[in-house]
């Protein structure tokens, strides 16, 4: 990938900031999401809560189904491939997807290597639980990062943990003296230049969204106040009682994430939230996938 293409790909993530990216499984859901104010949609066959319930191996979605969603909306369309499955990524690039999520929500195809994302023209977003994971993904060519959280649970605790951890590690590097950065790069298993970037800029070099377990406007605003630059909502919308209303409320809560009076109003009468599973009670831990 040329440097200018990488800048364009990072730029697209910048345009998504302050927005909500929603998981959708049909063109109808995609239209509901777009009408409710989604800044992009993630096309997938099953939302994480259902993947979790179904068990087994979960793979990239049917390209025809993804194309149906691309035709239904004018906003960017993302899709997931398995960690390390570069052929699934090639297929998604061939159908001109706007962003590929190399995602731990699907069953990993490679338990050692991630995709060499520098070989693609199309942009990638990857999950991370801490700064080391985030910078390793950036080094592999990811142009956007999101917290992993614990997908399909409706439990925000892991996303909070991941965002807090990343931020505290960034603060630590910011306050280090220059000669300590070499050792820090070794500890994080990332190139020195990326650690130096964090030291000088107080942030990672790409946009950082929150994902995994966001179910309410308050959850979304919480992640924004913790420093997320936007939010992915997976199961939280179409597993709830009134998807259109909840989606619109979450969008507005992300824009005005510091306005508690408005978020209070937005949180009224949303119908039933997704049931949720306590992240401590689940058997498949998706966040452990891909380090």
């Amino acid at each position: 990938m040329e440097k200018s293409q990488y800048e364009l790909n990072k730029g697209l993530a910048q345009m998504l900031k302050g927005g909500v990216i929603m998981d959708v499984t049909t063109p109808e859901q995609a239209k509901i999401a777009e009408a409710a104010g989604a800044c992009a949609v993630m096309a997938l066959e099953r939302i994480p809560a259902d993947i979790r319930a179904a068990g087994g191996v979960s793979r990239m979605s049917d390209p025809k189904m993804i194309k149906g969603i691309q035709d239904a909306v004018s906003i960017p369309v993302m899709a997931k491939c398995r960690i390390g499955h570069f052929v699934e990524a090639q297929i998604l690039e061939a159908i001109e997807i706007d962003y590929i999520d190399e995602s731990e929500v699907l069953s990993p195809a490679d338990d050692v290597y991630h995709i060499d994302k520098t070989q693609f023209k199309v942009p990638f977003v990857c999950g991370a639980r801490d700064l080391g994971e985030a910078l390793r993904r950036v080094n592999e060519g990811a142009s956007m990062i999101r917290t992993k959280g614990e997908p399909g649970t409706g439990d925000i605790v892991q996303a909070v943990r991941h965002m807090r951890k990343m931020n505290s590690e960034i603060r630590k590097i910011t306050s280090m003296s220059k000669d300590e950065l070499f050792e820090e790069a070794k500890q994080l298993q990332v190139p020195y230049d990326l650690v130096k970037y964090v030291h000088e800029n107080g942030r990672i070099p790409v946009v950082n969204f929150a994902a995994g377990g966001v179910a309410t406007p308050a959850d979304a605003a919480l992640m924004m106040q913790l420093g997320a630059e936007g939010v992915f909502v997976g199961s939280g919308i179409f597993k709830s009682g009134d998807p259109a209303k909840r989606a619109s409320a979450i969008v507005q809560a992300v824009t005005n994430y510091k306005d508690a009076a408005l978020i209070a109003k937005l949180s009224e009468d949303l119908g039933e939230a997704m049931v949720g599973i306590n992240a401590n009670e689940i058997e498949i831990i998706m966040e452990e996938r891909g380090k």
Binding site: L8, L12, Q14, M15, G18, I75, P76, E96
Partner: protein, 189 residues
Amino acid sequence: MRTDIKIGVLAVQGAFIEHEHMLNELGVQCVEIRKKEDLDNIDGIILPGGESTVQGQLLIKLGIMEPLRKMIENGLPVLATCAGLILLAKHIDNDSVTHIATLPVTVKRNAYGRQLGSFNTTANIEHIGDYPMVFIRAPYVKEVEEGVEILATVDNNIVAVKYKNQLGLAFHPELTGDTSIHKYFIDMI
């Protein structure tokens, strides 16, 4: 440096911080617009890149649309980039919904296709000179009505226009290190 003015940056969604950084670099005070009260006492406004469908809906839901349209009609200087240009356009070629609709042009959304069609180039802008242009899932201007000045074209497509107090760009000056467009806008105030 202009310390006498305050520029609003629409901050409902998208790349608004990048515009704020540019204004800060030029020593100009700016304020984020997230609700209609924020529009008080601004001398100009920037509509940033992002997703126009999202921004348009939020302008309505947050009650910003009507007062902002009136202010622009009454001469408030506005700089609109990418999604912002779509918000400003009176006609949208491939969409039945328009938004602020004060700029008498027809724009085409996602005119270069999906992300794989995004590109960089350098082209001349009238009054400003050569400028590095970043096009991301960008629109272009298909037609202009009388009185609209065409400032720049790329491959025969119109990518920058000016109409009275309104400056519309299909690309993203906020993603470059070049502040000359922002300087030009400040001089319009």
